[in-house]
């Protein structure tokens, strides 16, 4: 009988992201719940070089699947590599991130392992069941796995990031045969941006139709920079061409779960709420005190955004200025 919780870390462009540590945090919760050992696997073209960082964070062993064919993400090769690690670990549960790569990898891996799959997990219960939002976040499903092995992807910003603690775990290489490849990574075109990625942001400032134009987003970006926040948007703002689609939050956009979500000039239609209702503190800034977002917000500020945003930004900058030691 399989006995082990395996966290699979897939570096992006050869580097670890802080969300990797959240996987270990989730793995610890599940390992405690099921009373099974926690292991980690690092997959990539330079996995061995990254294993040390992971090994210091609570796993009992770190498996490394390193191969030139794993330098860039393709679904088939990564799934085979993860399956090799899962077999080596004798894993009953495999945990991945809910990123684009993590989700695709989990999907393919679940079939290879004949495993049930739950994505976007936000809670792990004491009996090993998990919770996830569905119906656009309107409902929460409690999911039970019927298969002996299960694969889950965990929502970003949900589980604690495992800190370095204690002695480093042993690191072991797993042999991997890439086999014939059916897909080939050709190239990557990075998006030039100083912006913080929405999905992993601790703070998000989002703008809607109330901003009135692309120019209306200028004071919003200023506020986001002052806060160190990522920028989100409603579909109406995106459809109006004021900001690219990648910023869209909601049913047909990204799902976010930051500690702080500031919604400016967004009315809060159900499709928008689907993408952000699980956020920690929700601040709404809107001229209409009765709109749904103002009603559900943790903190509601009634007013004209063009007046309020520059004042809030200035206020934050002033306080940060004072905080700098002389």
């Amino acid at each position: 009988m399989a006995n082990g919780i395996l966290v699979v870390v897939t570096p992006s462009r050869g580097a670890l992201s802080p969300s990797s540590y959240e996987l270990l945090g989730a793995g610890k919760v599940l390992a405690d719940a099921l009373k099974q050992p926690l292991l980690a696997a690092v997959i990539g073209g330079n996995a061995a070089a990254l294993a040390g960082d992971i090994a210091a964070r609570g796993a009992s062993k770190v498996l490394v699947v390193e191969h030139p064919s794993l330098k860039d993400f393709t679904e088939e090769s990564y799934a085979r590599a993860a399956a090799a690690a899962a077999a080596k670990a004798d894993a009953s549960r495999v945990i991945l991130p809910s990123t684009i790569a993590g989700r695709a990898l989990a999907a393919r891996l679940a079939v290879l392992l004949k495993a049930g799959l739950a994505t976007d997990v936000t809670e792990i219960l004491a009996d090993g069941k998990v919770r996830r939002g569905y119906y656009g976040g309107n409902l929460i499903a409690e999911v039970e796995f019927k298969s002996p092995v299960a694969v889950l992807t965990v929502a970003a910003m949900t589980f604690p990031r495992a800190e370095p603690a204690g002695a480093a775990a042993p690191v072991e290489a797993v042999s991997f045969d890439p086999g014939a490849s059916v897909s080939e990574f050709v190239s990557f075109q990075g998006e030039e941006s100083r912006e913080i990625d929405l999905g992993a942001a601790e703070k998000v400032v989002a703008g809607g139709a109330g901003l009135g134009s692309a120019d209306g987003f200028k004071p919003l970006f200023d506020l986001a920079h002052a806060l160190g926040a990522a920028v989100g948007a409603s579909r109406r703002a995106v459809d109006s061409g004021w900001i690219p689609y990648k910023h869209q939050v909601g049913l047909t956009g990204r799902t976010v779960r930051p500690k702080l979500y500031v919604a400016v000039g967004i009315s809060g239609q159900i499709q928008h709420l689907a993408g952000m209702a699980a956020s920690g503190t929700i601040v709404a800034i809107n001229s209409d005190k009765d709109c749904p977002l103002m009603q559900m917000a943790s903190i509601a500020v009634v007013g004209e955004y063009s007046e309020l945003l520059p004042l809030i930004t200035a206020e934050i900058k002033a306080r940060k200025g004072h905080a700098v030691p002389a």
Partner: protein
């Protein structure tokens, strides 16, 4: 050479604003079904691809109850040529694992009749919303797969070059065909159903395939074949009552808001 394009579609409740019934299940009885919103983009991608290569066909494929035939009609109204309906009580209650197995069995049958070039999926469904069925289907078939496709750059009879929208930029990936691609909204702007399409959709007749006809055992289909089951649905926890920031002037409100955020250690 002509392409044999398949587009996988699902009938989903026309609204996701649903509650929970007394049995702890989503209250969807009586809610009309509609083509899953993201599948509109998949259908449009299939139709555009077919239009770009003379002699090609686009076939819509669904696993679902009787009512799902309407979704195949919708795909035809939007330009697909034909539809295939995988159906039967045995498919009820399937998760992504069981559903992708059913789709893969249907694709195997279609592929045996006439080699499949490419299978196109939407980003995710509006109800379950996992966004994994396209990739799982490919895995069952041992075909190539790619998710988050924002552009089909080039497709010929043996390969497809596609653009994948990642969190930090765009990857170009070349796939050996047949392959399964899961698209995102950025791939196109779906056209509305045409009059000609609507006429064709009314007359369309769809083959109905059961689990037995696809060579699936009862234990492999629907709830019996699921690896993960929803044992209970609940409403999200209510949020605590909110705070209204009052002030005589905008400056006063701004200062108060920042006070609260500092106090809550959010700044």
């Amino acid at each position: 050479m002509a392409l044999n394009i398949i587009v996988c579609v699902k009938s989903t409740p026309s609204t996701v604003n649903v509650g929970v019934d007394a049995d702890g299940k989503p209250k969807i009885a009586g809610v009309p079904v509609a083509l899953n919103p993201f599948d509109e983009f998949a259908v449009e991608a299939a139709v555009r691809l077919k239009e770009s290569v003379p002699g090609s066909t686009a076939t819509a494929l669904t696993v679902g109850p009787d009512a799902a035939a309407e979704i195949l009609r919708e795909a035809i109204a939007r330009g697909a040529d034909a539809g295939v309906h995988v159906t039967g009580a045995e498919f009820e209650g399937g998760d992504s694992y069981a559903t992708s197995l059913a789709l893969s069995a249907a694709l195997k049958k279609l592929h045996a009749e006439k080699p499949v070039s490419i299978v196109i999926f939407g980003k995710n469904t509006s109800d379950a919303g996992a966004g994994v069925v396209g990739t799982q289907t490919a895995a069952w078939l041992d075909w190539a797969s790619v998710s988050a496709v924002k552009k089909l750059e080039a497709v010929d009879e043996t390969s497809a070059t596609v653009l994948r929208q990642m969190e930090d930029g765009v990857d170009t990936v070349k796939l050996k065909l047949p392959a399964c691609v899961s698209t995102i909204k950025e791939i196109n702007e779906p056209r509305l159903p045409s009059l000609k399409g609507k006429m064709a959709s009314k007359k369309a007749v769809f083959p109905r395939w059961t689990a037995a006809e696809l060579g699936l055992q009862p234990a492999q289909a629907g709830a019996a074949g699921a690896g993960a089951v929803v044992v209970k649905a609940a409403l999200p926890p209510a949020r605590p009552a909110g705070l209204k920031v009052e002030g005589a002037t905008a400056a006063e409100k701004a200062a108060k808001l920042v006070d609260i955020l500092v106090e809550r250690k959010l700044i």
